[in-house]
Symmetry: C2
Subunit: 111 residues, 2 copies
DNA sequence: CAACATACCTCGCCTGTCAAGGTATATCTT
DNA sequence: AAGATATACCTTGACAGGCGAGGTATGTTG
């Protein structure tokens, strides 16, 4: 079991939304940027990535459109919606709260 | 969906092991101490709790024995093993790494 | 022309969570 | 005496997310 798999479970949506805040992007590139940000220590598995896109689009957090590349493989671009921005903001707040809570719960010392 | 459920998923084992580092304890009390530490904002669901005990015992991280209460409901106590302490230590390190990684991944700003 | 990189996708399994149900003992209230 | 509440344990079955393994198609590089 890799370090990250279970611990990052549940953050997939937040991670993807974060990558779309500044600009539209497509799946493959999003995953590359995730690898870069973690210096190669983490990447979303493709199945996880595309499952998350479907889920987020279903939830109205992102919309998608095909790029108009004249060459190379086709790309499906994703755009974050207002709902998505709002969701992202909530997820960020949740993460900050969860982080503190987890730290409290895995401490050994008595309070 | 509660704030914590999905985000804390994967930390259950760490949380339980942390509660057993200093002394043996039983399920009901462990869960109470979790509620206290989070000021009532979080608790493990019973099914999750007991599933985790089975999993941890199976993995050799804890052992269990029945308390000798003369009155009241019976209690099954859990004791952390050397394997458990070692696992806990690893999980703590993993958490610190994961925390940093997640922070990096859900940032909006470019680096 | 084979291998690799880019770029997308689906199916089916596995694992952890949890709602819902159960058992049993003791105390407190009416 | 009956009922509610707290303590304390447990199991079953459904559900959701992650992901291994497989697939398609295009373009580049050795």
């Amino acid at each position: 079991m890799s370090i990250a798999s279970d611990l990052i479970r549940g953050h997939t949506d937040t991670i993807i939304l974060a990558r779309l805040i500044d600009s539209d992007n497509y799946g493959y590139e999003i995953n590359k940027s995730i690898q870069q940000r973690t210096d190669g220590r983490y990447e979303l598995k493709e199945a996880t990535l595309y499952t998350a896109f479907r889920r987020l689009e279903q939830a109205g957090c992102i919309s998608s459109y095909w790029g108009d590349e004249q060459t190379g493989a086709r790309r499906r671009y994703y755009k974050i919606t207002d709902t998505g921005r709002s969701t992202y903001s909530t997820l960020l707040t949740d993460w900050k709260a969860a982080k503190e809570m987890i730290d409290k719960l895995i401490e050994t010392e008595d309070r």
